[in-house]
C-alpha cells in the first residue's frame, strides 16, 4: 500500500503541545510574580510525575516510550492540573491527581487521542471531592501576605509540610475571591458587605489573580493567532459566563457577582483558552464548538453560584465532554455541494 501524500507539512503533535506550553508561560510568570515560588515548584513536580506515570503506563501497555513520551501531551496535562491546584498544595495532592489524570482518564481510556474527558480536569475533580480542605488553601497574594515564603521555605512546606518558625498558616494562605464571596453569601452577607470586609478584592477580580487572568488571556490570544485553538470555544465559553452571570447580576445585584468578576477569576481564562479547547475531549465542528463553549460557560457560573464547590470550571468542562458525541453528530456542517440541495 502506498501512502499519499508523499510530502508532509512541517508540524507534529509535539509542536502543538510545545506551543500550548509556550502560551501558558505568560500566565505562569504572572502567577509566580503575584503569588511566589509555589507554582514553579508545583509545575516542576507535576511534570516529573507526568513523565514517570506516562512512562509507566506506556510500559504496562507495551507501547514504545520515545515517540509517546516526546509528544508532550503528558506535560500539558501536568501543567493544566498544577495551575488548577493551590500553589502550596502538599506534594501528594499532585501525585494523587496525576495518577487519576494520566493513569485513569488518559491510559485506561486508550491513551493519547482516546480520552473522553480532559485528563487534568478528571484529576482536579477527584482531588476537590476527596480533599476539599487542602484544595481550598490557596496562596495569599504576595501583596497581602504577612510573610512571603522563599524558594527553600516553599519547598519544605510543599514536601515537608513545615513552615518557618513563627509563621502561621494564615500568614501564607487565604481563600480565593470566589470562595470569599461564596462563604460570605452563605453567612447571609450582601456582596457590598463582603467586599468591604475583605482585602482580597482587586479592581475587577482578586488582588494578584486578576493579573494572572489577564496573562492567560494574552497567552490564549497567542494560541488562537498560532491557529492551535479555534476561536469558537474560548469566545463562546467566555460569552457563556458573561451572559449567565450578567443575567443573574441584573436580576439581583446584591446576591450575584458582576459578570466581569466571574471572568476575572484565572480559572475562567485558563478554562476558556487552554482546557475547553482540548481537541481530544472537545467538539470538532464549528457550530458544535460554540455550543460546547456556551454550555461550559453557563455551567461554570451555575456551579459557582448554586453548586457545592467554589469553582465550577472543571465540572462544567467534564459535563460538556460527555455531550461531545451528541453535539458533533447534530452539528455536521454541509459538505461541498450539499447546501444547494435544500
Amino acid at each position: 500500500m502506498t501512502a499519499s501524500a508523499h510530502i508532509l507539512q512541517k508540524g507534529s503533535v509535539t509542536r502543538v503541545m510545545l506551543l500550548v506550553l509556550a502560551c501558558l508561560l505568560p500566565g505562569v510568570l504572572a502567577y509566580a510574580w503575584q503569588f511566589g515560588w509555589g507554582i514553579v515548584i508545583n509545575l516542576v513536580w507535576a511534570s516529573l510525575l507526568a513523565l514517570a506515570l506516562e512512562a509507566l503506563a506506556l510500559r504496562l501497555r507495551g507501547y514504545p516510550l520515545k515517540p509517546f513520551l516526546s509528544d508532550g501531551s503528558a506535560i500539558v496535562t501536568a501543567w493544566l492540573l498544577a495551575l488548577s491546584l493551590p500553589p502550596l498544595a502538599p506534594w501528594w495532592l499532585l501525585l494523587v491527581g496525576m495518577i487519576f489524570a494520566i493513569g485513569v482518564a488518559k491510559h485506561l481510556y486508550g491513551g493519547l487521542g482516546q480520552n473522553i474527558f480532559n485528563p487534568a480536569m478528571v484529576g482536579f475533580a477527584v482531588l476537590i471531592i476527596s480533599f476539599p480542605v487542602q484544595m481550598t488553601q490557596w496562596s495569599a497574594p504576595l501583596a497581602l501576605a504577612a510573610h512571603s515564603l522563599s524558594f527553600g521555605e516553599s519547598l519544605s512546606f510543599v514536601f515537608g509540610g513545615t513552615l518557618p518558625a513563627g509563621v502561621a498558616l494564615d500568614a501564607v494562605v487565604s481563600a480565593t475571591p470566589l470562595d470569599t464571596v461564596r462563604t460570605g453569601l452563605l453567612q447571609q452577607h450582601t456582596l457590598d458587605e463582603i467586599h468591604s470586609a475583605s482585602q482580597i478584592f482587586g479592581s475587577i477580580g482578586g488582588v494578584g489573580s486578576e493579573w494572572v487572568a489577564a496573562a492567560y488571556l494574552l497567552g490564549g490570544i497567542a494560541l488562537w493567532a498560532l491557529r492551535i485553538v479555534p476561536w469558537q470555544v474560548p469566545v463562546a465559553f467566555l460569552a457563556g459566563i458573561w451572559l449567565t452571570a450578567g443575567f443573574l447580576h441584573w436580576a439581583d445585584a446584591g446576591r450575584y457577582a458582576a459578570p466581569w468578576f466571574q471572568l476575572a477569576a484565572p480559572s475562567a481564562m485558563l478554562g476558556a483558552f487552554f482546557i475547553a479547547t482540548d481537541p481530544v475531549s472537545g467538539a470538532t465542528t464549528p457550530r458544535g464548538r460554540i455550543i460546547f463553549g456556551l454550555g461550559a460557560g453557563f455551567l461554570t457560573v451555575i456551579i459557582r453560584v448554586f453548586g457545592g464547590y467554589p469553582d465550577g470550571v472543571a465540572f462544567a468542562i467534564l459535563l460538556m465532554n460527555l455531550c461531545v458525541p451528541l453535539i458533533d453528530a447534530y452539528t455536521q456542517p454541509p459538505v461541498f455541494g450539499e447546501a444547494k440541495k435544500k
Binding site: 500500500m1 502506498t2 501512502a3 499519499s4 501524500a5 508523499h6 510530502i7 508532509l8 507539512q9 508540524g11 507534529s12 503533535v13 509542536r15 502543538v16 515517540p67 509517546f68 509528544d71 501531551s73 491513551g111 493519547l112 487521542g113 482516546q114 491557529r227 479555534p230 481537541p279 481530544v280 472537545g282 470538532t284 465542528t285 458533533d328 455536521q332 456542517p333 454541509p334 459538505v335 461541498f336 455541494g337 450539499e338 447546501a339 444547494k340 440541495k341
Partner: protein
Amino acid sequence: MELQRFPGGVHPEEHKSQSASRPIHAAFVPRKLVLPMRQHIGQPAKPVVKVGDHVLKGQTIAEADGYVSVALHAPSSGTVTEIGLASVPHPSGLPDLCITIETDGRDEWAARTPIDWRNTDPAALRGHVRDLGIAGLGGAVFPSSIKLDPAGGPPIHTLILNGGECEPWITCDDRLMRERAEDILEGARIMQHLLGAERLIAGIEDNKPEAIAAMQAAAQKLGLTIEIAAMPTIYPGGGGKQITKTLTGLDTPSGGRTTDVGVQVFNVGTSYALARAILHGEPLISRIVTITGHVLRPQNFEVLIGTPMSELLLHAGERDGTTGIIMGGPMMGFDVPDMDVPVVKATNCVLAKSKELFPPKPRELPCIRCTQCVPVCPAKLQPQQLYWFARAKDLGRAQEYHLFDCIECGCCSYVCPSHIPLVDYYRYAKSEIWAREKEKRLADTARDRHEFRLFRMEREKKEKAERLAAKAQSKKAEAPALSTPEQDAKKKLIQEALARAQAKKAAVAPKNTDNLPPDKQAEIAEIEARRAKIVEIAKQPVEPEQH
C-alpha cells in the same frame, strides 16, 4: 472574469522550475514497449494481434471492449513478442495483461486518415475518438468519447480546458501549453462542437505566466473565442469540481459530477491528443511526461506509451541514491512496484525519489482531533470523523459522512500533525464498501433466482395438477366405460411386444455388468434381488396414515 475561491486546499512547495525551464524532448524509440490493456477506466481493451505479428506505428493492437473502453495502438513499428502478464504501474502492485512489442527501429507509420469532423455524424465522431484511444490525460483516464456525449444529462453550457496542473513538481501541461497551444485549442474546438457548449474557458494557475501568454496568442491567431483565466495557485485547484467552482462559481452537487451543473472539464493534454487524432489521424501513442526529482536533468519528454520508466530515467540522467519512483505528483501519485514498469496514458510525471527529497515518514501517532484537516478539505468533509469510522470499520457512518465525496487529494494527510496517512484509510473504506456492495448484489441475485425457481416450481406443479384435473374431468365425461375386453386384449398385446423388444435389446447390447468376475456377479445378483424386493413392497397398497 470574476474568479471564486473553492473551499480548502494547501500550497506545498512547488518545485516546478527544475523541469519547466527546458523544452519538451522529442520522443525516442526504446527497444521494447510494454502496453497494458487496462490503461483507462472501464473495460480493458481486447487484443487483436497475435504473438509474432508485425505491427506498424499507430496500428490498432487492441480494440475497445464495450462502451466504457478505448482502443490501444502500437506506439512504434515492430513485432509482437508476448501477450501476457507483466508488471504495470498500479497502486495495487499486481501484474496485468500486456502486449509487448519488440521495436524494429524504423518507426514506420501505418496509414493515417484525418477526419473531417465538421461533416461527420457526432456519434460516428465519438466512435473515432474511442477507436483512436483517447482518454483523459489529466490523471483519471476516463474514455473521452463518453465525456463528449452530451445526451442523457443537463445540457453542457461550459467547456473548461484544465491547465491547472496544481500538483507540485509536474510541468507537462505547462510545457505543452507553451509549445503546442494551437493544437490544444484545435482540440477544444472539436470538443465544443460535440458538446454544444456556448462558453469555452481555459483555467491556468498563475504560476505559469508563459503558458497563459502562449494560449492567449494561439487563441488570437486561430480567432477562437475563449476566456483564459489565471487562477490562484492552490492545490487541488485543478480538480474537476474545484476548477468548475473557481471559473464558474458553480457548486457540483455532493455525489454528483460537474456535468450536473452543465460544465464539462477536459485536461489540456487530452485536448491536444484529440486534435492530433482527429486532424492528423494519429492515435494516442505518446504523451508528455515530466521526469523530475532526483535526476541530473529534470525535463519534459514526449514519451511513447509503453516505454519503461527506467529508460526514461537514463535519458534524464539517473543518479545514485534513487530510492524509487512515484508515478504522478507527490500529493496523489503512488510508488510504482519496480522501475521497469511502462509509461501509460495516465503517466503525467515520473518523480525519482531520494532520501533527501522524500525522507521516510515519521511515525504515525494517534489522531488528537485537532481538526487541522477540516479547513484544508476541498470537499468540506470532516476527515477526522471519516478516519475514525474507517478505523472502526463503521462503513455505514463513513458513507453517511459523505466518504464518496472524497477526491483523495491528500491535503488532510499533508497537514496532519500526527502524520496519519488519512487517504489510505479512506481508500480502504471505499474499496471495502465496494466489495460489500458487490457481495450483496451477488447474494441478492442468487436469492432472487432461488425465489423465482421456487415460485416457478410451485406454479408448474399447480398448472400440472389443474391440467390433470381438467383431463380427468373431460375423460370421465367422454368415456364412461373405461375397460372393455377388446381394450384389455389390445393392452396385453402391446405389453408382450414391449417385453420382447426389451429382451432382444438386452441380448444384443452387452451391459457393463457382463463379463465380470464371479464374486462381482454374485454381488450384483444380490443387489438385484434386493431391488426386486423393494419394488414388490412398493407395489403393495399403502395403508392410510393414522392421525
